[in-house]
Structures are given as structure tokens and as C-alpha cells.
């Protein structure tokens, strides 16, 4: 009898262990451990990335011996306080582009969630058959490195001493910077009114600027009020020009009589460094068939820029601003190392664009950001 009981306990234990394994996705893992299709191979690897199982993700690469795990983590999870380090891979879509007996190309659209909103990363991944399973071939681009050197920086910054709380009321304070809206164009988009234009800091000190707008109804009453939020370079050095964009979702031009613009400027400490070059700017069609403005950012200074933010203005043949788009770059800017960026341009706008101009904000972890 006791022998029967012992056998029963062992059997029950085995059943429970099996159930727990199935429950924890073991069956799925087992099924996918040897991917039967290229898409499955990409999905499997991205699932490991999503779960931060970097060892497993690295082990699943066809060329694992050629790729350092650190490089894989840097590529997918970011480093040096870049936006990617604050992002998490929420989901991904995978579909095949090409396949033969030995190799295939799979396109993956990675959806990251970040502090500044959703971020999509589209990658075309090579997959190859290894025995009876498919494995991802990770690109062996080594991280560019800058040779050890000293980059001289003539550090120029502005500090402010404001009026003290105990000072007499007549004691002079420093004035707010003089800024001016140099252009404004109201556009009607299918689902909204968009105001675009440019603002210049006419002063000799840095300014923290924000542009607000109020839509006025035909009877003169206020219809809606919005600000440029992050579609502007907030910190403007002397004589610097920034595009701005203000969206009014749900409104049509026929509903409004006029617009009241309001540019607010505040005196802030600022720094003239880093200088960021925006190179190789061109409008292209991306793999999804959308028009994008692409380019490279090169940090010409010696300090790392953690989170670059690109704001682009597009002009028609008359020099009028016809669109403003922006985008965050999920990689940090190491000194002298080019980093690509791309910002969307609506197709109907792209056909009218005669020229464009890009300005770069940045946000740094040590609060020395330019915005």
C-alpha cells in the first residue's frame, strides 16, 4: 500500500512539473528552439530580446562567434544614456521579403515605447539555414571608436545672476531676451489645423522660447489654445533660428477668423557647445514607401550627446515654411561619429518642398541639455 502511495506521489509530482513547464511557455520555447521558418527564427530571437535574455538571443545567432554579446546589447538596448536605454521593446511585426533554400531576408518592425512616445525601428534581417533550423545572421558592423585624443573646446557659456529676494523693488533685473516670430503659415491637414513657422532669438543672450497660439472664432472668441510643446528647439543661442509647429486637432480653417500668436522667452543659462553638424540631408522614400528626410548627425565637440532631437523645416519655392517635422534619435552622439536620422515628411508636402533646414536639440543626463 505504502509503495503504491509513493508511486502515486512521484507521478503526481511529474504531472505538476510538466504542467508548470507548459504554463511557463516551455512548450512554445521548445517548439521555437529550432526555428522551422526564417520568420520564426527572427521572432524567437526578438522574444529573447524583449525578455532581456541576452545570452539566449546571442546564442541563437548564426554568426554568434563573430558578434560580441555586448555589441548586440548596445545595438538593441542602447548605451551611454541614449533614448534606447530608456526604451522597452513592446512588440514587433515580422514578415518575409525573400527566401530560397539556404537564405532568406526578413523585415522586422520593432515597436519601442519611450519617455517621448513610441519609436519604431525597421530592420531587414538576413536569416540562413543551419542544419534543419533557421538562424539570424546579425550584421557585424563594429561600433566605430574614436582614437584617444584631446579635443580642445573653447567652452563658452552664459550664467545669470538674478535680482535677490531682499533687494529693493527698484533694483534692476536682467531683461528677458528679445525673440521674434519671423514667419507663420496656417495649414489645413485632413484632421487638424497646423501652424508652422520660425522664431529667431534677436538678443545677445540665450533664450528659452516657447510659441503659443490661440485660434479665434469669427465672433472674436477664443476657440482653442495650444503650444509648440517639443516641436521647437526651445533653447536658442543669440541669432539662432528655430522652426516651430503647433497642432490643433479636430479644427478646420473655415472655423476660424484669425490666429493670435504668442512667443514667450525666458533668460536661461546656456552653453555654445556642442556643435552638431547635420550632413548628407536628402529626402528619400523609406522601405515602407513613405517620404523621409534623412541625414547624419556629427557631434563636433568632445562630450557625448545623450538624446539628440531633430527639428526640420521645409520651404516651398517662395521660401515659405510649408511643414515642420521632428524626431528623436535613439542613439547617443559620440564625438565625431556620424549617426543617421530620419524624420517623416507627408507625401503631399514632399512634392512641394524646394529646400529644408534642420536644427538639433539635445538632452543630456547631467541636465546640460539644450532644451
Amino acid at each position: 500500500m505504502s509503495r503504491l502511495l509513493a508511486i502515486g506521489i512521484v507521478v503526481a509530482t511529474l504531472i505538476f512539473v510538466g504542467l508548470a513547464w507548459v504554463q511557463s511557455g516551455g512548450l512554445e520555447r521548445h517548439r521555437m528552439s529550432a526555428a522551422q521558418t526564417p520568420e520564426e527564427a527572427v521572432r524567437l530571437m526578438l522574444t529573447d530580446v524583449q525578455n532581456h535574455n541576452w545570452n539566449d538571443a546571442h546564442a541563437r545567432l548564426a554568426n554568434a562567434s563573430d558578434i560580441e554579446q555586448r555589441a548586440l546589447v548596445h545595438d538593441l538596448a542602447g548605451s551611454n544614456g541614449s533614448l534606447r536605454t530608456y526604451a522597452s521593446l513592446e512588440s514587433f511585426d515580422v514578415w518575409g521579403l525573400h527566401k530560397d533554400d539556404r537564405t532568406a531576408t526578413v523585415r522586422a518592425k520593432l515597436h519601442y515605447s519611450t519617455a517621448v512616445g513610441a519609436l519604431d525601428d525597421i530592420r531587414d534581417m538576413k536569416v540562413e539555414r543551419s542544419g534543419d533550423a533557421w538562424k539570424v545572421v546579425w550584421p557585424t558592423n563594429t561600433m566605430p571608436k574614436l582614437a584617444p585624443q584631446v579635443i580642445p573646446v573653447n567652452y563658452l557659456r552664459w550664467d545669470i545672476i538674478n535680482r535677490g529676494a531682499g533687494d529693493d523693488w527698484g533694483v534692476q533685473n536682467v531683461d528677458s531676451p528679445q525673440v521674434r516670430i519671423v514667419s507663420m503659415n496656417a495649414l489645413e491637414r485632413p484632421d487638424r489645423i497646423v501652424l508652422v513657422g520660425e522664431i529667431v532669438n534677436e538678443d545677445t543672450v540665450p533664450a528659452y522660447v516657447n510659441v503659443g497660439a490661440t485660434l479665434l472664432a469669427p465672433d472674436g472668441s477664443d476657440l482653442a489654445q495650444e503650444t509648440s510643446f517639443d516641436k521647437i528647439s526651445h533653447t536658442l543661442l543669440p541669432k539662432q533660428v528655430s522652426p516651430y509647429r503647433i497642432d490643433f486637432p479636430g479644427y478646420k480653417l473655415k472655423q476660424i477668423k484669425s490666429v493670435r500668436m504668442d512667443a514667450k522667452a525666458m533668460l536661461v543659462p546656456g552653453s555654445a557647445d556642442p556643435v552638431i553638424e547635420v550632413g548628407q540631408q536628402r529626402i528619400e522614400t523609406d522601405p515602407l514607401g513613405k517620404k523621409v528626410l534623412r541625414g547624419d548627425l556629427v557631434n563636433q565637440s568632445g562630450q557625448i550627446v545623450n538624446i539628440p532631437h531633430v527639428v526640420a523645416a521645409y520651404y516651398d519655392s517662395n521660401g515659405k515654411v510649408i511643414w515642420v517635422s521632428d524626431g528623436y534619435v535613439d542613439q547617443e552622439l559620440m564625438p565625431q561619429i556620424p549617426v543617421s536620422f530620419a524624420v517623416d515628411v507627408p507625401d503631399d508636402v514632399a512634392s512641394k518642398v524646394q529646400s529644408y533646414r534642420v536644427v538639433v536639440n539635445y538632452y543630456n543626463n547631467d541636465n546640460t541639455g539644450n532644451s
Binding site: N154, V200, D203, V275
Partner: protein, 290 residues
């Protein structure tokens, strides 16, 4: 009937009796005194009473002996304005009004606007002086206020303006040379000083030159100056734009030590333009890699 007539008589006579008692309780006070200076109020009558002082920023009550002088300390009347003094004996009171005038002018508040101004801008600086006594009362009587502007070079311009209702002001044109201007206002022995920074205006004749440097081109401005010849402040942003076979390259570079300098890629023939704010400069055509 007779009793009713007596009651009616009392109703009419009682107020008259009170009035005569109140007039006996007379208060004599100066019509005008100076802020912060002691003064006295004399009372009639006898016995104990209460004295009230009610001003724009102060109110006090004290017990007094009627028929004597009531001393009011200067610290009780530091704020200029209309004061009321009241002396009461029981329910009988008498009051007087005193106007407290500001003391002699001994303080200035000087408002100068703006704190930064472009050079050679007519009537761009306003200096407004408010004349106060030592208790922060605005002095309404006319006072001569002397304004003095000292430039960086050391030259001084003076002007005297009489204050009107406590305020004197001047408008000034900024100098054609950049630098701080010291603006002083004085009344009596008191002087207040403010500094206005006169800054260069927009860049004028913005010019660039290019020099190949390996795979890059070094583009540098001539010293950036305004139309009066003042160097624009360091930190002023100069935008360089290069249009070449690889697309467009832009760099916003700050002026450092009077010039703005960038390195641009040298890949084929390209056109380089320069701008600072809304001012544009010359255009260069460069042939690419040497």
C-alpha cells in the same frame, strides 16, 4: 398726561446734555506734521480717558489723563498720509485729523530699462527715478534729480530733471560703441547706479572663406561685426549651409573670439552659404577634394 410731557422733555434734553459734555472734551492737534517726528496733542477736561491714533499703516490705543498733553512718538507716524486722533472720556469722544508729510528726500529708486540695448538706437533707454524719504514715503514736493551717464570710454553726460509727484525721468539714445553704460541718478547725497549693456547690432557684411584640410574644408568667417564696426558677442550663432552632390550639410556654429569656424565635408563641387539670424552673407563655390 403730565407724566407724558416730562418723558418727552427728557428725550429732547438728554442729547443736548451729551453734546455740551462732548464739547467740553476738546482735542487740539497740529494739522500737519512730518513723518517720523514726535509731536503732541493737547486735551481738555479731567479724569481718565482713552487716546486713539489711527493711520494708514498703524493704529494704537493708550490710556491718558485728560487735560494734559499726549505725546505721539515719531516711530508711530513713519508712514505719510492722513491720521485721525481721538480722545474719549467714557462715551464722550472728540477727534482731529492730522496730515503726516514725507520727511526730506533721502532715497531713490531708479528703474532703468532695458538692461541690454543695441548700439545707436534713439531713445532706447529710459531711466525713471522715484524720490523717497528715509521711511519709503514718496516725496511729492519738487526735488531736483541729477542724471549722469558714463560710457565705457569714461565720458560723462549729465542732466537735471525736477521731480513731479515724486517721479523724474529721462530718455537716452544708446551710444554707437558697444560696452556697459553706467546710469546714475542722485538726489541730495543719495545716488543710485544701474548698468545698461550696449550690445552690437546684427552682423553686417558677413563674409566667409574656405580652405581645404584633407578630406574636409575649413570654412571661417571674417571677424563678425555690426554696421558700426562693433564685434558681435561671442556665442552668436552663424549658420553654414553646404549643398553638394551628397545632399545638404548644415552647421550652426557659435562665434568664438570674433569668428565662427566649421569643418565641412569635401566631396565634389559644392556651394556654401552663411547666415546669422535673418542676415545672409556671401556664397562660396568650392571644387571639392583638392
Amino acid at each position: 398726561m403730565r407724566r407724558g410731557w416730562i418723558q418727552l422733555g427728557l428725550i429732547f434734553l438728554a442729547p443736548l446734555a451729551c453734546l455740551s459734555a462732548a464739547s467740553a472734551q476738546q482735542l487740539r492737534a497740529p494739522a500737519q506734521v512730518t513723518a517720523g517726528k514726535d509731536f503732541s496733542v493737547s486735551t481738555n477736561g479731567s479724569g481718565d480717558g482713552s487716546f486713539y491714533l489711527i493711520g494708514p499703516a498703524h493704529a494704537a490705543k493708550r490710556e491718558i489723563k485728560l487735560g494734559g498733553e499726549v505725546q505721539v512718538r515719531g516711530e508711530e507716524i513713519e508712514k505719510a498720509g492722513r491720521y485721525t486722533v481721538i480722545a474719549c472720556a467714557g462715551s464722550q469722544c472728540d477727534s482731529a485729523t492730522i496730515h503726516v508729510q514725507p520727511d526730506a528726500a533721502s532715497r531713490l529708486s531708479l528703474l532703468v530699462h532695458p538692461s541690454r540695448v543695441r548700439v545707436a538706437t534713439p531713445n532706447a533707454i529710459s531711466a525713471v527715478a522715484f524720490v523717497f524719504d528715509k521711511y519709503h514715503n514718496l516725496v511729492f514736493t519738487q526735488q531736483p534729480v541729477n542724471f549722469e551717464v558714463t560710457s565705457t570710454a569714461g565720458s560723462t553726460i549729465t542732466a537735471s530733471r525736477p521731480s513731479s509727484d515724486g517721479v523724474a525721468w529721462v530718455r537716452l539714445t544708446s551710444a554707437s560703441k558697444e560696452g556697459p553704460a553706467k546710469i546714475a541718478a542722485s538726489v541730495g547725497k543719495t545716488t543710485e547706479v544701474r548698468i545698461v549693456r550696449q550690445v552690437a547690432s546684427d552682423a553686417c557684411n558677413l563674409r566667409i572663406k574656405a580652405q581645404p584640410n584633407g578630406k574636409r574644408i575649413v570654412v571661417e568667417t571674417d571677424p563678425v561685426r555690426d554696421c558700426s564696426g562693433n564685434a558681435v558677442p561671442d556665442g552668436t550663432v552663424v549658420s553654414f549651409t553646404q549643398v553638394g552632390p551628397n545632399g545638404k550639410t548644415t552647421v550652426d556654429a557659435p562665434v568664438k573670439k570674433g569668428v565662427a569656424r566649421v569643418e565641412l565635408p569635401a566631396a565634389g563641387p559644392s556651394r556654401i552659404t552663411v547666415a546669422s539670424g535673418v542676415v545672409t552673407g556671401n556664397e562660396l563655390s568650392v571644387g571639392g577634394r583638392p
